[in-house]
């Protein structure tokens, strides 16, 4: 079988432990929570840390708590817990959906939401064994200096593949980071960078401790995921839509796209078109057409990239129809309006 590389494992009992270990060992160290992303990656030598700082023993990281009218979810909370938590399901249904669609039941029992938010970007030239990558020629994300998807490109286009990231983005969530210099809370949009290698806007030695969800008043949300199979597969397109309604008129809206770039992408312009409108089939169709614009998939995941782009429009339409209580497809504006 594929073997893990040798490393030293430092179990933390507190966030303070973890921060200390991380700053002690600098770039030799990595954090590990459920390990469902990191360990397979280690087997393929996508990372070769000398030290792993374990978060599983940090009690304070797990749990869902009400805070300031919203919810705070500890980074160590398992995806199964997030998907089944009654408050999450009631107030942030898209988040429960997304967490419940991650990989498989076994991995959701081990995998944490913190790990999901920080999950490595993916590319089918990169998520391969060391021998395979050597055979095709290493790329700049690990061991090499070119991009095999976009030769000539100075950057890596590996794909942001978290299911919860676009949902948290659309919900306006923030994250709490604790590092050697103390703690800070930043909007989730600031956690991500449009770069396949340095995809996180946080320092290596900062631990993500909480996900902070704003009050849900009036917001409705939905998440749709494109993948080949109903389980296991990472998203190759995730569409997260959140809409605040006043009666049947849209007051505020956010559309975030996952897995079509190195970071979640927001369809700001399309969302703006919704404001002040009723969610009719006509309006939804118009918005969906626009929403695909920031979707920039390349040929480095399952399915063809033109297909993923095409599906962005369909999925945005369907997510909005879901929120509006309309049938997934079909019908005409006259009939339903």
């Amino acid at each position: 079988m594929m073997r893990l590389p040798p490393f030293k494992y430092l179990p933390s009992r507190s966030v303070a432990d973890a921060v200390k270990y991380m700053s002690d060992h600098g770039s030799d160290a990595m954090l590990v929570a459920g390990g469902t992303d990191l360990y397979p990656n280690l087997k393929r030598r996508q990372f070769e840390p000398k030290v792993l700082v374990g978060l599983r023993g940090v009690r304070e990281l797990a749990g869902v708590r009400p805070a300031d009218g919203g919810l705070t979810i500890g980074a160590g909370t398992t995806l199964t817990r997030v998907a089944t938590h009654p408050d999450v399901r009631r107030d942030y249904p898209a988040l429960a959906t997304a967490a419940g669609l991650v990989s498989s039941p076994q991995l959701r029992n081990m995998g944490t939401i913190g790990g999901n938010v920080c999950v490595d970007t993916r590319c089918n030239y990169y998520n391969q064994s060391h021998a395979w990558r050597k055979a095709i020629g290493f790329c700049m994300k690990k061991d090499g200096d070119i991009c095999l998807v976009a030769p000539g490109s100075p950057r890596c286009w590996a794909v942001s593949s978290s299911d919860t990231a676009p949902v948290l983005w659309s919900l306006g969530a923030s994250v709490r980071l604790v590092g050697p210099d103390g703690e800070r809370v930043i909007p989730i949009s600031a956690l991500y960078r449009d770069d396949g290698i340095e995809y996180l806007g946080k320092r290596r030695d900062e631990v993500l401790t909480d996900i902070v969800l704003p009050p849900a008043d009036g917001w409705k949300s939905a998440y749709l995921k494109l993948r080949r199979r109903g389980s296991f597969d990472f998203p190759v397109l995730g569409v997260a839509v959140a809409v605040r309604l006043d009666g049947d008129v849209v007051r505020d809206a956010r559309i975030a796209l996952g897995a079509v770039a190195s970071t979640p992408r927001e369809s700001t312009e399309a969302a703006r078109l919704l404001v002040g409108e009723r969610l009719t089939i006509d309006v939804i169709t118009r918005v969906a057409d626009r929403a695909a614009a920031p979707s920039k998939p390349l040929d480095n995941t399952d399915f063809t990239h033109p297909y993923r782009k095409k599906m962005t429009r369909v999925f945005v339409g369907r997510a909005l129809r879901q929120i509006a209580g309309l049938p997934e497809s079909g019908g005409s504006s006259e009939e339903i309006a």
């Binding site: 073997r3 089918n124 391969q128 050597k134 055979a135 199979r229 389980s231 296991f232 399915f303 497809s329």
Partner: protein, 819 residues
């Protein structure tokens, strides 16, 4: 014979190894641990095609913890291959690598990590050659040769056979269709990755435990590859965690483990990673097909002509047989008075293809069943009715000289048509789909039929010995041991042996211990392939058990002072039916038997009827009997996403007799599941000379969520060739599912996809063509330029009566078989 006449046969019993499997007790090859065992790894080529200029193992050998390092030069300089006609493999490549994944060196070390590190220290010099990654590329570059042998540059094998005058028949047909189809290659994906333990002992002998489907062929070939006497090698097949044809060749890892063990004097284990399993492959050939079929106004077939191009990958493997199978089996389903077949297998720099469940037949089956649907539409016939009408006749010969015995295909169609509500749905779905403002999800239903062989009629190497043997041994404990060379690969062959022997002896299957697949202890069985085991071992087992029963009856008859003919065996007793009080227990009966005859051990042997057609190539295709299946599939196609959702699958399978209906249903459902994957997602795709997705995550194979309810009906035709009438069930039911899905998609959205796997992108592209008013067909159009050799012209044997039914060279199942 009705099922009531049996006590064990026909019962839905658990498999005898079920407890071990579900509790984890079963010891697979990778669960074996021997004292002082070393661990081995292979160094594999990272080039698709290259000459090896140099191999230096010095640094690897110097690494602490390394026991032995070998290259091809540490093995006798002989090429090998599973078929005598394709001896083209080196366990460790000496001069040239032909694919990414070819093994070039091997290391045995104290643990896997050390072996892996040592592999990285081996320096191999390569001189890259142009990789040929497709049929077209290999044919277009005759100046680049993957192998030096074959029927032309990069053409491994070419076959051309003609049975009767097809051109004349086409000329007088009402409708002649020519269509091109493509079937992408895919792999077996067994849950258990290949593993082996080799132990060369101080006495100069060698034992190999391996997850293999064919210990006999591995044994035979090891004597050649290792240049050792056969009696000094013992091969034991460990329980196989899924084979599907992927564990049917001798492999580099087995051979390397043997040689390493000889060199380091320790047992050596080797276990492949999932990625390596993709390289070992021997899976479904990608096949490009051109099919021309003539029809009468009523839908009868007048003639059929098929051309197939197989992408064989880097080595021969079973490829010559695979090539024939793309052409020879279609005629056993439907009446085809004249028939022509041309096939060619092309070498490419990819993992070698070979036998996967259905071996060579799912591809032409897909082509034929899709074409029949197109013809039915043109002729204004219902596709189910048309197929029913043209079903071949029982106990006749086909144009290509294959003998059909029983054929339950018409009944299979009837059962499926009735169960799925065919007539209503064929009419209703189009009406629903056409409603204004209907949702994007359209429903459709499609149908297809198929056939598969129950065991190859000839062995891989020519011989006149039994294909299967069984020894049944009983003693005073009342226990019975069954010894047989067959390998249980999950299909339940150990259980079948126990049921058959228990039935004959009137005891419980639990009283029987099956010892299988050990070349030292068990009679030769050729292996678990071509759906041969239940029939061949089964007949041999009934024969052996019948002899044992006769011996016991003789002894009990003497004791009870009755004629042996008056005795019956049931409920673990032997006695006279209407004087059952006096019946003796089976243990007592065995004691009496031992006292009368000495040791109670009896053998049964089986070889198939000799029916090879009397022309060159006539040896591939004949089988004692053929199983038949029909399947209907209901789909929902999303016109906005192109996604195909399978709603329900109905399948009826003519199994001759269900020895255990639970097992047969399991085989049918497993086959259906595998067919779904081939139809909708599985593909061995390559990019820049490499397998694009050698992992379980990225090579998409369906999960339970993609698998719809499968409604299985078993049809029993009580075939005279089979043990108690049984035919195969492990492969055939895969076949109709794939074309039935394609036909259902067409019914739903009017898009013809003549290629599998069918992706959502293809469906959308087809819908786009339809919107533009163009023919809504997706698939290949161009065929490679190929100079076919003149066909061997043989007279059509179509319609001739079957001869030699149930004539077995080593005798019948015996009186017990008739009961």
């Amino acid at each position: 014979m009705t099922n009531e006449a049996f006590s064990v046969i026909g019962q839905p019993l658990p498999k005898i190894d079920a407890w071990g499997k579900v509790t984890g007790e079963t010891r697979y090859a990778d669960d074996l641990f021997l004292p002082r065992m070393a661990y081995a790894k292979l160094l594999r080529s990272q080039h698709p095609h290259a000459r090896i200029t140099r191999i230096d193992t010095t640094r690897a050998k110097a690494l602490p913890g390394v026991f032995a390092v070998i290259t091809g030069h540490d093995l006798p300089p002989v090429k090998f291959g599973i078929l005598p006609v394709s001896q083209d493999e080196d366990a460790l490549c000496r001069d040239k690598v032909r694919m990414v994944g070819d093994a070039v060196a091997a290391v045995a070390a104290i643990d896997e990590e050390t072996a892996e590190r040592a592999c990285e220290l081996i320096e191999v010099g390569y001189e890259p050659l142009r990789p040929l990654m497709s049929i077209e590329e290999s044919l277009a570059h005759p100046e680049v040769r993957i192998h030096e042998y074959g029927d032309g540059p990069n053409v491994h094998k070419m076959v051309a056979l003609q049975f009767g005058d097809v051109d004349a028949a086409f000329a007088s047909s009402h409708l002649v269709r020519e269509d091109v189809f493509f079937f992408e290659g895919n792999t077996h994906l067994p849950m258990e990755q290949h593993a082996a333990v080799a132990h060369a002992t101080a006495d100069g002998k060698l034992t190999l435990w391996s997850s293999t489907q064919t210990p006999h062929y591995v044994h035979r070939l090891l004597t050649k590859i290792l240049d050792m006497p056969g009696p000094h090698i013992r091969v034991i097949a460990t329980p196989v965690g899924g084979g599907f044809g992927g564990k049917l060749d001798p492999f580099a890892h087995e051979i390397a483990a043997c040689r390493l063990s000889q060199l380091c004097g320790r047992p050596v284990k080797i276990a492949l990673t999932r990625e390596e399993v993709f390289y070992v492959h021997r899976g479904r050939h990608p096949v490009l097909m051109w099919l021309k079929t003539g029809f009468t106004r009523d839908g009868d077939i007048t003639a059929s002509h098929i051309r197939t191009w197989l992408d064989g990958g880097a080595y021969g493997s079973y490829g010559v047989a695979s090539t024939f199978y793309t052409g020879v089996i279609n005629p056993v389903t439907y009446k085809m008075p004249v028939y022509k077949f041309e096939g060619a297998r092309i070498f490419t720099n990819k993992p070698p293809c070979g036998p996967k469940r259905g071996h060579g037949t799912p591809q032409p089956r897909f082509a034929l069943e899709c074409q029949l649907d197109k013809a039915a539409e043109q002729l204004g016939l219902d596709p189910a009715d048309m197929r029913r009408r043209i079903v071949a006749e029982p106990f006749t010969k086909t144009a290509n000289h294959l003998t059909i015995t029983t054929i339950g295909l018409r009944e299979c169609f009837d059962r499926v048509v009735e169960a799925c509500g065919w007539r209503d749905k064929r009419a209703q779905f189009p009406r629903d789909n056409a409603r204004p403002n209907a949702p994007a999800k359209k429903k459709g239903i499609g149908i297809a039929g198929s056939a598969y062989m129950t065991g190859a009629g000839t062995a891989i190497y020519w011989n006149s010995m039994p294909h299967s043997g069984v020894i049944v041994r009983a003693d005073r404990s009342g226990g019975v041991a069954v010894l047989c060379g067959a390998t249980d690969i999950g299909q339940g062959s150990d259980s079948i042996l126990a049921y058959l022997v228990a039935e004959v002896l009137g005891i419980d299957p639990k009283d029987i211990r099956v010892h299988a697949a050990d070349t030292d202890l068990t009679p030769v069985d050729l292996g678990s392939y071509s759906s041969r085991v239940t029939l061949m071992c089964g007949v041999a087992a009934i024969q052996a058990a019948g002899k044992l029963r006769q011996a016991i009856f003789d002894a009990v008859a003497k004791k009870l002072e009755v004629g042996a003919d008056a005795l019956a065996a049931r409920d673990r007793k032997v006695g006279v039916a209407d004087d059952w009080e006096k019946a003796v227990t089976f243990a007592q009966a065995a004691e009496l038997g031992e006292a009368m005859h000495g040791v109670l051990a009896f053998a049964g042997s089986y070889a198939p009827p000799k029916r090879a057609g009397k022309y060159k190539g006539g040896g591939v295709g004949p089988s004692p009997c053929y199983s038949y299946s029909a399947s209907a599939v209901e789909v929902t196609v999303d016109e906005e996403t192109g996604e195909v959702h399978l709603d329900d699958i109905w399948i009826a399978h003519d199994v001759g007799r269900a020895l255990n209906p639970l097992l047969v249903e399991g085989q049918v459902e497993g086959s259906v599941y595998m067919g779904i994957g081939e139809a909708l997602m599985e593909g061995q795709i390559f990019r820049k000379g490499l397998h694009k997705q050698p992992s379980m995550l990225d090579y998409k194979s369906p999960t339970t969520l993609e698998t719809p309810e499968i409604h299985t009906t078993l049809v029993e035709t009580d075939d005279p060739e089979g043990p108690f009438g049984a035919k195969e069930a492990g492969q055939g039911p895969l076949l109709p599912v794939i074309p039935a899905i394609a036909n259902a998609i067409y019914h739903a959205v009017g898009v013809r996809i003549d290629e599998v796997p069918i992706s959502p992108e293809m469906v959308l592209k087809g819908l786009e063509l339809k919107r533009q008013g163009k023919p809504a067909r997706i698939g290949r159009e161009k065929l490679p330029l190929m100079h076919w050799k003149d066909p061997l012209a043989v007279e059509s044997a179509f319609g001739q009566p079957a001869e030699d039914v149930a004539v077995r060279p080593f005798g019948d199942a015996g009186p017990a078989g008739k009961k």
